[in-house]
Amino acid sequence: MSDDANLESFREEARAWLADNFPSAISGRGAELVGMESVSRDPDLEKWRVALGEKGWGTPTWPAEYGGGGLSQKQAQIIDQEMRKIGAFNPLPVMAGMGITMVGPTILEYGTEAQKQKHIPPICRGDVFWALGYSEPNAGSDLASLQCKAEDKGDHWLVNGQKTWTSGADHAQWIGCLVRTDFDAPKRDGISFLILDMDQPGIETRPIELIGGSSPFCETFFNDAKADKDEVLGELNGGWTVGKRLLQHERQSQTGARASGGAAAKVTLQDLALKYVGADDDGKLADPDLRARIADHLMKAQAQRLTTQRVIAEAKGNHKVSAAASILKNAASAVSQEKDELTLEILGHQGLGWEGHDFQDHELAAVRGWLSAKAMSIYGGSFEIQNNIIAKNILGLPETTQKG
């Protein structure tokens, strides 16, 4: 059979399997059901998670031997397309926290056979939630200056120190941490990637409230916390390489999903502007200044989408992690933040409501969204750090600041 014919028959198979397994009762309800806070899960959602997990289609391109789907990138796209058609969704990326987008791929790449057997199948089933312990109060952009330490105690590691911005740490089962295992080595050479069980007395979490309201982020404190001796991912003191690789996966996951307007973006800026600002006699937006800026924004957004598509096409449909992720991340956050600013401007004073019945839900969502999105150019390597990466790794300019 030709490649195309194979894919067509796969499409049939996917369609049939989805028809049999996706509970139509939860069609289109992904975002509302799969919130991280949801303690009592919907029974239909639970059924769907189990079915998807058994089939391995929540992580379609991961190897089947560890619980993934064992499929090609193209087949994964087909599943995605067929899911969209019927309002189905993949709940696992949210249910697994950092497990699917970041930790899983890194374990698959650097883990020992035993680590893969232990950690990957539960991620594929959506059974476990992973947090990530990278940043510390004094190690943000300069991650390699981290101080949280793990001491070799013969049969285990003893961990002491603090992490911050650990998303979802308060309900995570596992955390992948960068810790210092050698204080005498140059700073990048004394770091290891250590996996810890969050369910132990030596770990405490404290939530961080953000400017947009409560958040999934925590400060996490380790006081004589323990990790199994065989939970170092990659080489001992080789954590910088493993950690950087994981960050590339993170960046890759932040290159435009939001900016390209997911299913949620039903109302366009144009619609909103016409509703709140009104049109002149020719039907043009009554505020020509705003009109010009919206047009400029729409052009930037389209350029950004086209660039994302081009980079993917040039990588031959293969979502490979590359230095271009820095360009895409910066473009995506700039476009997305600009959209939020324009939305707020369009809504005028109605866009500044904090709570209460005088504001519609979408108005309240706009102001909170605008505030939260300010973080897009800070996390996952800030705007400035991405530019440093572009200057150094793509343009070949000499490194001036990141001597480690």
Partner: protein, 378 residues
């Protein structure tokens, strides 16, 4: 500040140390966390009044100190630095300006002394939708015997919950969009038919939506000419815009100082982050923008004091430039503080939220660029 008189210098010092000690941003945060209904602290307002600032524009014969708009700007800038919430802008500047420019002798005698001593809050109720658009006024004033009946709704009225009286822009003839047919009324807040609902906003200040249902007022409530208020309303608004620009300049200047401080103290990669050229240049650009914005704000306030011909142009310039700078500065305040800037515990978010609300009030940058172009004959 360029070329301040000795008196202005003294007042600036007084305002600065008072705001730092008595009404710092931590106090604003407390007020926010306590969810104070009115959106300001009565004790703070009392101190402001006792220092004479509530009557800073009010003539001496009516119990004020009549120090003029540039001087008022000096005070507002210092309060803007600490995000001090009070009815000073709404009542001491806008309400007082409305009465001075359009009030009858009787109205002035009744309200100006009370504005000056802080015992009454008089606010302007102009916009009816989410955006600043005075000519779009629809709230109707229908002649009824020798008085009028007001019917309609005003949105996002500053200090609308606490106000003792409203200066209401109403339409006595014509239709939305016309300059002709606007009339100002001075309406006691207790008048039957007035209903207020408090708004909870991102900047945690005092705003209310106010509805007027069959509100009956006498002929003595009219301010100025029936149907001919457009021009004086514009002049009142220009005073409001220039004063708010001064407050915004203060908010932005404080954001700048906080950022500069962080650039000099936060260490990453073994050096203070201000040593990274990417950030140093941004600080330099912001500083340049700040100097330009300051010139525009001072020029507008001075023009009002001198009753200059180009006052309107300068007021739109000031609001647009202060808005641009505050917008840019508040975004950089967050970005340069990195993750810390995103936390509620740190003050950056309070400045960012205030920035957008102040931008939208009395016309945003787009509104004033358009007005500026029109005034320049474009």
């Amino acid at each position: 500040m360029a070329a301040l008189t000795e008196e202005q210098e003294l007042l600036k010092e007084q305002a600065k140390s008072w705001a730092n000690e008595e009404a710092p941003v931590s106090k604003f945060r407390e007020m926010r966390d306590a969810r104070t209904e009115e959106g300001f602290d009565r004790g703070t307002w009392k101190s402001i009044s006792e220092m004479g600032w509530a009557g800073i524009l009010v003539s001496e014969e009516h119990g004020g100190v009549a120090m003029g708009h540039l001087t008022a700007g000096v005070v507002l800038e210092e309060l803007g630095r600490q995000l001090t919430a009070s009815p000073l802008l709404a009542s001491g500047i806008v309400g007082a300006s409305a009465l001075a420019l359009a009030g009858s002798d009787a109205q002035q005698a009744a309200w100006l002394p009370r504005i000056a001593d802080g015992s009454a809050i008089v606010t302007l109720a102009v916009d009816e939708g989410p955006r600043h658009a005075p000519l779009q006024t629809k709230l109707s004033a229908t002649a009824d015997g020798d008085g009028f009946v007001l019917e309609g709704r005003k949105a996002h009225v500053l200090e609308g919950l606490a106000a003792d009286a409203f200066v209401v822009a109403a339409r006595s003839s014509g239709s939305a969009g016309d300059a002709e047919g606007l009339t100002l009324f001075l309406v006691d807040g207790d008048t039957a038919g007035i209903d207020r609902s408090r708004l909870s906003t991102a900047d945690s200040r005092g705003y209310a939506n106010v509805t007027f249902t069959g509100v009956r007022v006498g002929a003595d409530a009219v301010m100025g000419e029936v149907g001919g208020a457009a021009e004086v309303l514009d002049r009142i608004l220009d005073r409001a815009r220039a004063a708010l620009s001064a407050e915004m300049l203060g908010t932005a200047a404080q954001s700048f100082d906080m950022t500069l401080d962080y650039l000099k103290n936060r260490v990453q990669f073994g050096q203070v982050i201000g040593s990274f050229q990417a950030l140093g240049h941004r600080a330099a650009t912001l500083f340049t923008e700040m100097e330009m914005a300051r010139s525009c704000v001072e020029a507008a306030l001075t023009a009002i004091d001198e009753d200059a011909d180009n006052t309107a142009v300068l007021c739109s310039l000031a609001k647009a430039k202060a808005g641009d700078f505050l917008h840019h500065m508040s975004n950089e305040l967050i970005q340069i503080h990195g993750g810390i800037g995103m936390t509620d515990e740190f003050d950056a978010g309070l400045y960012l939220k205030r920035a957008r609300a102040a931008e939208a009030t009395y016309g945003n940058q787009a509104f004033h660029r358009d007005r500026y172009a029109t005034l320049q004959g474009l």
